[in-house]
Subunit: 317 residues, 2 copies
């Protein structure tokens, strides 16, 4: 690593912002000390309530997230926000725009905001977002908001790792159908039709409710709310719907179930990561490179090569 | 398996549609005989030219794909289409709509069309799409079109597995910025601004070209074309741009490089799949379940559990 990261565990637990920011940077960059940090912090986790906010691009997720944060701040809760931004590896950084709208919240010292960029690959990002949420949790944030664009499976995984998942849609025609196609309908505990002062809002709500008729998750029928988040309309009702879902989960033992499922996924990802690292040694990389030439001449096939590599791994085992 | 799949290798190679359809179904459902089939077919692959078509929902990808197919059919080439549809696990099937528009092509016996649905998880779908393309390739299709919604990393991987990748956008404001955020700009060899009879088309082309000023891939500067695919406008130019890119790749040895990279990815996925299967035995699943209870009491942490599981795997090695 070019930069040495010094992370003070006690300062993270005390909610020191610089220490929290450094800890998340360490996770993001796979720094050598991130592993021991997460290990040590883990027993401090489990107190924050995690709210996922997702939806198609342009639905107003950042605005909703910011307004929710401000709402919980008024209840004197500490709020942390992880905003996952699909990033262009080509521009080299997350695009601004979305983040700018959140500045009014950022100025409040009770809110910690952090963007995490995907840097061209979402592989491992849902794991990293969970770990960043763990850090905010251990640092005493009572509410952690996970905001992400709901456009693909990895992004859905991030939002799905929350205790309550809010899906934000807009009245535009076909939006709810697209959302359904993208798998958003399945992960929603609360629906928000934002920009509901626009034409088509009522029809969109009806469409969502029609789709929802087919579904209830463990006895919870997802709520459908309307907001005009830019004007603050409907935000209080949204925050209340989230807390209603929280009470529902807590009352049915379902919160623990969700959290166990989240940890099972996290461990599965840790195992897969470690196994991949152990597998792809320089030696096996070279073996693969050699075989690729034979493969292009059609003297072997991908299945034979995979088997040979695995046999090699076990031989070394 | 509830249904016995009998796949005749020779019939697939002869281009028999029923045999091809069965072979793809076998891959999709991880049927026991799909592995031996793919092994046997592999040496027949490498002749088809693979064209990825991707872009945001509603951009007109299916129409473009259908028109391209019709164009290549007029040149008396055999054309295969793999359309990857994000599917709702909740509705249980791919949504129609998109597919309907392709019927004029479907009626032509020279075109083989197959939808592959993600059934709620895109994990492994890019591998399966590559394998389905291998089957069409072995069956003598000279052109294989891979159509997918460009909304997430897994979906990009599918389109990126092509020899030439076409990204379809529409003039709507902000679309090109969203495309850039979603990583579409990086994988495009050819850009199509579809529905370019709509307002804002010229500005959108300018925006795309501005972004492209920062980029050329191995000496190829992506082309930007305008189409009104529903009326057939610009399709010939698009088909020619694809072939121009093909000649460019072939002239610079870059086609072989791309294909080697694709096969490296495929083998890496085969290895990861196999390793995951080998790892998650009933015994280790039980071990994880036991530890999850301790984890909820914060008596251990996910990192310790992952290590214990890996140690157990190597002990069994």
């Amino acid at each position: 690593m070019a930069r040495r990261t010094v992370i003070d565990l006690e300062r993270v637990i005390a909610g020191d912002r610089i220490a929290m920011a450094r800890a998340i940077t360490a996770i993001e960059s796979d720094a050598p000390d991130s592993d021991s940090l997460l290990r040590a912090l883990f027993r401090r986790t489990g107190r924050a309530y995690r709210i996922g906010v997702t939806g198609p691009p342009g639905a107003g997720k950042s605005t909703i997230t910011g307004k929710l944060a401000a709402h919980y701040r008024r209840q004197e809760l500490n709020v942390g926000i992880i905003a996952v931004d699909p990033t262009s590896p080509f521009t080299g950084g997350a695009l601004l725009g979305d983040r700018v709208r959140m500045t009014d919240v950022e100025l409040d010292s009770g809110v910690f905001i952090r963007s995490m960029a995907s840097r061209g690959s979402l592989g491992g990002l849902s794991k990293k977002a969970t770990e960043a949420a763990d850090i905010l949790d251990a640092a005493g944030m009572q509410i952690v908001l996970l905001e992400t664009v709901g456009v693909g499976q990895s992004e859905l995984d991030i939002a799905g790792a929350a205790d309550t998942t809010v899906v934000v849609l807009v009245p535009e025609s076909g939006d709810s159908i697209q959302a359904m196609k993208a798998g958003l309908m399945e992960i929603a505990d609360v629906f928000v039709l934002n920009k509901s002062d626009r034409e088509g809002a009522d029809q969109a709500v009806t469409a969502i409710q029609l789709i929802l008729n087919f579904r209830s998750i463990d006895g919870w029928v997802p709520q459908v709310l309307q907001t005009v988040a830019s004007e603050g309309k409907g935000v209080t009702e949204l925050a209340e719907a989230v807390m209603k879902h929280r009470r529902f989960l807590e009352g049915h033992g379902a919160l623990e179930e969700r959290r166990i499922a989240r940890m099972r996924r996290h461990i599965t990802e840790l195992v897969a990561d470690r196994m991949r690292e152990d597998f792809w040694t320089d030696e096996r990389r070279r073996l693969l490179a050699d075989r690729l030439e034979e493969l292009m001449r059609r003297e072997t096939n991908p299945y034979e090569i995979a088997e040979e590599l695995i046999a090699h791994f076990h031989g070394q085992g």
